[in-house]
Symmetry: C2
Subunit: 149 residues, 2 copies
DNA sequence: GGACATGGTTCGACCGTACAACCAGAAGGT
DNA sequence: ACCTTCTGGTTGTACGGTCGAACCATGTCC
């Protein structure tokens, strides 16, 4: 089978993606692949907040692709750890604005460091000449997934 | 920042991978991304069995990268649905050999079809000239993940 | 002002996973 | 033969993330 034929076969994509998902340990979402005592969703939330500075909760919900109820509880946990603060949104009486506390920023930095460690190892295992291609491919897939819906 | 520098930065890989994971809906492992009423792990198990014909339970555990207790229950569910049969291993008094029933093979076919549907759409959203690259990238990552441990 | 949509919270339930304890069979040494 | 250790499976227990529905408050549109 030629390379182009393979590339047009959904089953091949499925197989490739399936293997990847399992290899990366995306079962057990309650432990981050980086070995940190924090759930995958919490880690994502922390990352988004660290990057954005401030975020409306509804926006976080959208980015995390979770239900609002789930995010509410998630934010509650982060707040309980003293990592995020909730403030009423200035322009919308219903909304909540989220912001990292100082300790939250510290946690985010630690997490980023651990992640860096983890992904450094992964990146090291990818042949140098493949790296750019892999990153590009991930972008392409995210775009495709966004477009699809 | 040049492309090669980006390619060597773990944070970039992290970001790309993170987005992808969320975009693909890898939260809620109890529903397969294909919209079938079956968990991701069950789907994987079904796929492995359909492909191999027969499989030792311990081997399935290895491939799914789960705990043996989890797999034991998983197999129990599949058996309860009438999709797999357990038989004592001929060469090892402890072992269990798994095999799909007729109805299990049918379920696997249906699942594969639904998956095909789903991935066809995804594939359609990926520009044709990117497809081979994406598939290759996934292979590369799985290899890297395997090597790493 | 009334109907409907939107952002958040709380409650209840579901389900997949891990860990530990346990059992039975295999393997290897003395 | 026997004892120890290892390995494949099962069961009990607990944890935790996610969802859906019900509910409230606020915003929006006619």
């Amino acid at each position: 089978m030629s390379r182009d034929q393979r590339a047009d076969d959904p089953a091949v994509l499925q197989e490739a993606l399936g293997s990847f998902v399992r290899a990366f340990g995306l079962h057990q979402p309650e432990t981050t692949p980086c070995g940190q005592p924090i759930s995958v969703s919490e880690a994502h939330a922390l990352g988004e907040l660290a990057q954005e500075g401030e975020l409306r909760q509804v926006e976080l919900t959208r980015r995390l692709r979770l239900q609002k109820s789930t995010v509410s509880r998630l934010v509650g946990q982060l707040s309980h750890r003293g990592w995020v603060e909730r403030a009423p949104a200035p322009d919308d009486g219903r909304g909540v604005v989220l912001r990292l506390t100082a300790s939250g920023r510290r946690a985010a930095r630690n997490l980023a460091e651990a992640r860096r460690e983890r992904f450094s190892r992964l990146l090291d295992s990818i042949p140098a000449h493949e790296r750019a291609g892999v990153l590009h491919a991930l972008d392409v897939m995210v775009e495709a997934l966004d477009e699809e819906r």
